[in-house]
């Protein structure tokens, strides 16, 4: 029995289309030129807190940022050891979210879950020792939250949702007082 040639080509086209479909979906995250991480990197050095200016028409860092949320982020690089993030959180609405460079939100702390409005945390890879003798006072170590990062690089993004237009200044000042940097400080 002979397979008719057009039928064979239709089958080939469908199989080939399937392969191209899978390849395109797999390649897209790698090829996308405007990933959020690539937009944040040029804004400043690693391991320091960077405030994103209030969203203004035409000058957004990322598309669809909330005009009524103030943002600050720390691009952490754990090559030289764990990184510390400290913030006095003025209200329950704040959220601190941790991302891999591809945008996986692997951990988030909500303001409502923080004790005494103070957050003190250490970002470390699973294989990095966090407690070093003489660096952390023992009583302090109890309160420190350790965030295990799956990758050496990533983003810690603080979101400060505003209760109204007049709350912007206060949120910006509170974000300015946050710290991200070497663990020993």
């Amino acid at each position: 029995m002979r397979v008719r040639i057009p039928g064979l080509f239709v089958l080939l086209a469908v199989v080939l289309a399937g392969l191209i479909h899978i390849a395109a979906v797999l390649a897209l995250p790698l090829l996308a030129p405007k990933k959020a991480y690539a937009r944040l990197v040029p804004l400043g050095h690693a391991n320091t807190m960077i405030q994103i200016p209030a969203t203004a028409p035409g000058s957004e860092i990322m598309p669809m940022m909330a005009p009524d949320v103030r943002y600050a982020f720390c691009r952490f690089d754990l090559t030289d050891g764990p990184v510390r993030l400290r913030a006095a959180v003025p209200d329950d609405l704040w959220m601190i979210a941790f991302y891999t460079p591809t945008g996986d939100n692997f951990y988030t702390i909500a303001g409502a879950d923080m004790r005494r409005g103070q957050i003190d945390l250490v970002i470390a890879r699973a294989d990095q020792a966090v407690a070093e003798a003489g660096v952390d006072a023992p009583e302090e170590a109890d309160d420190v939250v350790v965030v295990n990062s799956p990758e050496t690089d990533g983003i810690a993004m603080i979101r400060a949702p505003l209760a109204g237009p007049s709350h912007g200044k206060r949120a910006e000042e509170a974000l300015k007082a946050t710290y991200c940097g070497a663990k020993s400080r």
Partner: protein, 225 residues
């Protein structure tokens, strides 16, 4: 000494087919076959890339939930998200919170399915959402907020004026309107609404925030210019 095809005709089981094969080799592949091959590759390329783009940009029932004009990528930002969601996230350029912390709903049309445009006026009305904080913001098609003299780009749960029955009504219009006015700007362009809901209180077994479709606001077109 070169062996010729005819030398084997007496011993090979496919011998009767050989004259036809020889004719083929002598004339080369036919034009028709070549056309079929080229067409197959073109069709495969078009189908493969077209379907991939559609499922990454627009979503599918596997990745997105749709309720009226609103659609939401369910596993956006989730480290264990599927490949379509990850590809969508990468090409969107956004850095969303995972769905256990927040839900994002996008609308590019009104409740009747007509595209949102700045030359029309819309009435958006809904009931309060069961979440810690929510915000309804307006963007152009590029995801940028729209310049307007009053500097008003969104309404959130803390600031939207509500009626006695707890419902809120936002008017999307070019010129000032009473109650909650979301200005759509002077330029003629398509519009996109985003409803971001932080800390949804109802969750499913996996912790994903649940937003009842009925609690999402309706978008009704009013007058057009």
């Amino acid at each position: 000494m070169r062996a010729r095809l005819s030398d084997f005709t007496t011993i090979h089981p496919l011998a009767p087919a050989l004259p036809r094969l020889r004719r083929r080799i002598e004339t080369g592949p036919s034009m028709v076959t070549l056309l079929y091959v080229v067409a197959t590759f073109l069709v495969a390329l078009l189908l493969g890339i077209g379907s991939a783009r559609y499922m990454v940009e627009r979503g599918s029932p596997l990745t997105t939930s749709v309720a009226g004009p609103w659609s939401s990528w369910i596993y956006e930002g989730n480290p264990s998200a599927d490949l379509y969601t990850k590809a969508h996230l990468a090409s969107s350029g956004r850095l969303p919170l995972t769905s256990t912390m927040a839900r994002y709903f996008l609308a590019g049309t009104d409740s009747q399915g007509e595209p949102l445009v700045s030359s029309c006026e819309y009435s958006i009305s809904g009931t309060p959402l069961n979440a810690r904080w929510w915000s309804l913001a307006l963007y152009d098609e590029g995801g940028s907020i729209i310049k307007n003299p009053s500097g008003r780009y969104s309404f959130n749960s803390e600031e939207a004026v509500r009626r006695a029955d707890g419902t809120y009504h936002v008017t999307l219009a070019r010129h000032a309107r009473p109650e909650n006015w979301l200005p759509s700007g002077a330029d003629d362009q398509g519009l996109v609404l985003m409803l971001r809901i932080y800390g949804p209180r109802d969750t499913d077994a996996s912790g994903t925030g649940i937003i009842m479709p009925a609690s999402l606001p309706a978008i009704e077109r009013q007058a057009c210019e």
